[in-house]
Amino acid sequence: MSEVAERNIVLAGFNDRFENLDDSVSFHTHRRDAYDSLCETGLPHIKNEEYKYTNITKVLESKFSTLDKGNSDIEPAVLEKMTIDGLDVHKLVFVNGIFSSELSDNGMPEGVKIINVAQAVADDNERFLTNFGKASATNDDAFLKLNTALSEDGAFIEVEKNAIVSKPIALFFINDASKQSLYSSARNLIIAGENSQSTFLQYYMTEGNEHSFTNVITEVIVGENAHTNLYKLKNNKNSAYHIGTTQVHQSKSSVFSSYTFTLSGAIVRNNLNVASDGEGCETHMFGLYVLDGNTHVDNHTAVDHIKPNSYSNELYKGILDDNAKGVFNGKVFVRQEAQKTNAFQSNKNILLSDTSVINTKPQLEIWADDVKCSHGCTTGQLDEDALFYLRARGLSKDSARSLLLYAFAIEVLENVKIEPLKVYLESIISERLHKDF
């Protein structure tokens, strides 16, 4: 009884917003299905295994009872905060989840088709409609449904066959919470054609001091032999809430690399689900979270090896200070057919304070016998011997500590292939690590 009542608080909140959507477009059937299904199941509570450590529904209920879309008159100057020195990108800007053509770059890079989702929906774009939801077909996560039910805008990007796109395509998501608290839900769809090579950067930021909630989904369909890189960077305010789901579907011989950096946020949940659905797929997943204050990050990753001869590698590292809470759940599934799979997973954490917490659950589920799978997980503190070594050579305690922490983080950072981005992240992290001592 009480459970139903609790569900209704949130559902009532977005009912209005749902009713105001244009129901004449054929896309609306997706939204309607998701809405109906969500009304039945409700949002997850901590009794749900997937949300055991992250009670995000409670936040929605207490702080976002109306799921307001918000309005905004963001100045182009804000974008400067998100500029990465020396990085030339094709820029797409979304304010409160809605595409802003004024702030975005005009035109399209060669070999790429970019349409914003609102446009694709209004036009009944066939490519969009047939590919929408394809990569997330098996996912019945409630927040995915919530996103689908309220999805209005986002980026629809199609990389053509054989296209090699050298310039990264950057998606900037700005939530303007300067006037009121708001809930934004962008929905992106990326299709990488056969033999194509492309790089995407997602950067999330919040302006203003009111509460902001982002529930974003990015679907990536990686074609045969395609190479796709996806960088995700969150340098939100510590009052911002974020659920970001990346759904990936890989075809034969494709290579997909994901890089997730979480540097702040009240509650951040990163879902990364990869279906390795073709022979010879390669999947790389890197993650780094450096948190302090009252922050909470939850990284959920899942790799599903469906076909033989595929490879996956996962490395997630975290440094937690103050009251920061880290959650890691990495799943590796190897189906019966997926023989000769190699899957590796590693999660390493350092706790700097006694009030920081880490809950980690590396999970392997294997149904095929001719595989090599392993996972490792450590939680600890800096090596006393290493600290002593450095101090014996004249480094102060503080600089020795920050040097070692930096070295710990660099193992993830050195995999970043875009040099200016790497430099940018290194500077943020080293600044953060010094500040603490």
Binding site: Q339, L351, D369, G376
Partner: protein
């Protein structure tokens, strides 16, 4: 009269008919579980009032609980009202010689290298007068009594040492701990009780006596081991011989209490009927085992070799409450055909400088599913906690599965926790190496698996380790090729 009333009426009148709530002549409780069943068991065992109340509180909690659905196992629903919860020990048909024993069973004994006398005992053949197991048992008992060690059946302990039982029963596994523990608390029939007084080092493996004397412990077994200050005991449960038990559901509870400087070593070898080759029948083994290192510097070590049962659901755990206490868990779980095992451990670090070590080796063959599920929790105050976990899985054949679900929850920055897991199959080069040297493929697999499990088998007491090795080979028989 409505249907409900009718049933109620029938039910109540039936009860009257037999009058078993007051009269305890019958040796068997009627089918089903109700408060009256609990009272019946308690009365039958002439238990004191407090124990009856304890059982009843467990039963009431059980009624409100739901069967857990989270383990990675599937089995047809158990009808808890279709079970006879108490019956006096069955009189087995006495056989006159081993020739009458099922030849298949005898063959297994041969392979395990179990002595002839032992075989007779296990199959229920009348034992020769020369080897008087009773007198052997008595000798042991005298020796233990001299040292002040109490080792007896649970019912005996309730009568002879009520103060100890009352103090410790349910202190580690509370009545409402989980569905099966609550069920066990309500209806447990018997079990063993063991108390080691201060400073005593128990001179023998407590199995020796156990194996001779208490073979039929039944379905809802309750074990309570109390190790007082600075004492030591090594306890062995189960045996390598196949157990042809008629009971489908087993829900045992084991509680261990280790006081200051005490050390308890608990080893299990479980080889219950796993069902036939098509997954029909077999035992459901739903066990709650937990030990508490209550005093400083205490140590509890679990070693288990699980090869039997159709479905296993078992997590021997340690609560490391005392400072500098240590918990260990060594496990080999082998599943074949359609067996399913969801097993692992919990290490709860509460005290300072507590240490734990987990070594779990899973082998799955045939169509079986083998899961490791474990938790390492370091509480806020547990400074300097240290954990090392290793869980390896070996897959044989492409129809089976191996799964790992480790939960690691750390709240203290001085904790050092490591976890590693691997999954692989036996290398073809390894098999080739063996076959090249004239070892046939089946023995080669047995050899490699034994090597793989060595780290755990080494923890077993000598006599058991040898049998366990043979048992591993036997369980995997026919899984190659």
């Amino acid at each position: 009269m409505s249907k409900d009333d009718q049933i109620l009426e029938e039910f109540t009148s039936k009860e009257y008919e037999h009058g078993w709530s007051t009269d305890i002549e019958s040796d068997q409780a009627p089918k089903g579980l109700s408060e009256d069943t609990v009272r019946f068991i308690s009365a039958k065992k002439e238990e004191p009032e407090w124990l009856l109340e304890w059982r009843l509180s467990a039963f009431r909690k059980w009624q409100k609980m739901k069967e857990p659905k989270w383990p990675n196992v599937t089995y047809p629903a158990v009808d808890y009202q279709d079970i006879i919860y108490y019956s006096a020990p069955k009189q087995k048909k006495q056989l006159d010689s081993l020739d009458e024993v099922d030849p298949e069973l005898r063959e297994t004994f041969e392979k395990l290298g179990i002595s002839l006398e032992e075989q007779k005992r296990l199959t229920g053949v009348a034992v020769d007068a020369v080897i008087d197991s009773v007198s052997v048992a008595t000798t042991f008992k005298d020796k233990l009594a001299e040292l002040g060690v109490i080792f007896c059946s649970f019912s005996e302990a309730v009568k002879e040492h009520p103060e100890l039982v009352k103090k410790y029963l349910g202190s580690v596994v509370p009545v409402g701990d989980n569905y099966f523990a609550a069920l066990n608390s309500a209806v447990f029939s018997d079990g063993s009780f063991c108390y080691i007084p201060k400073g005593v080092r128990c001179p023998m493996e407590l199995s020796t006596y156990f194996r001779i004397n208490a073979a039929n412990t039944g379905q809802f077994e309750r074990t309570l081991i109390i190790a007082d200050d600075a004492s030591y005991v090594s306890y062995l449960e189960g045996c390598t011989a196949p157990q042809r038990d008629e009971n489908q559901l087993h829900a045992a509870v084991v509680e261990i209490y280790a006081a200051k400087d005490a050390e308890v070593k608990y080893s299990t070898v479980q080889n219950w009927y796993p069902g036939d080759k098509n997954g029909k029948g077999g035992i459901y083994n739903f066990v709650t085992k937990r030990g508490i290192c209550a005093g400083d510097n205490s140590k509890i070590s679990w070693t288990q070799v699980e090869t039997g049962s159709a479905v296993t659901w078992k997590y021997p755990s340690c609560i490391l409450k005392g400072d500098n206490s240590t918990g260990e868990f060594y496990s080999v779980a082998v599943t074949n055909n359609y067996q399913q095992a969801d097993t692992g451990t919990k290490m709860i670090h509460i005290g300072k400088n507590t240490k734990s070590r987990i070594v779990s080796k899973g082998v799955s063959a045939g169509h079986s599913q083998n899961s490791y599920r474990g938790q390492v929790q370091v509480m806020k105050r547990a400074e300097g906690a240290r954990n090392f976990s290793q869980c390896d899985s070996l897959l044989m054949g492409n129809q089976c599965g191996a799964h790992t679900f480790p939960y690691i929850d750390i709240e203290n920055s001085t904790a050092q926790v490591e976890h590693e897991a691997t999954t692989s199959k036996i290398g073809e080069d390894q098999i080739f190496y063996c076959t090249q040297r004239g070892i046939d493929e089946e023995s080669a697999v047995a050899l490699i698996v034994n090597g793989y499990c060595k780290e755990v088998l080494n923890q077993l007491p000598m006599e058991f380790a040898v049998e366990a090795q043979k048992l591993l080979a036997l369980t995997l028989e026919g899984s190659v090729g």
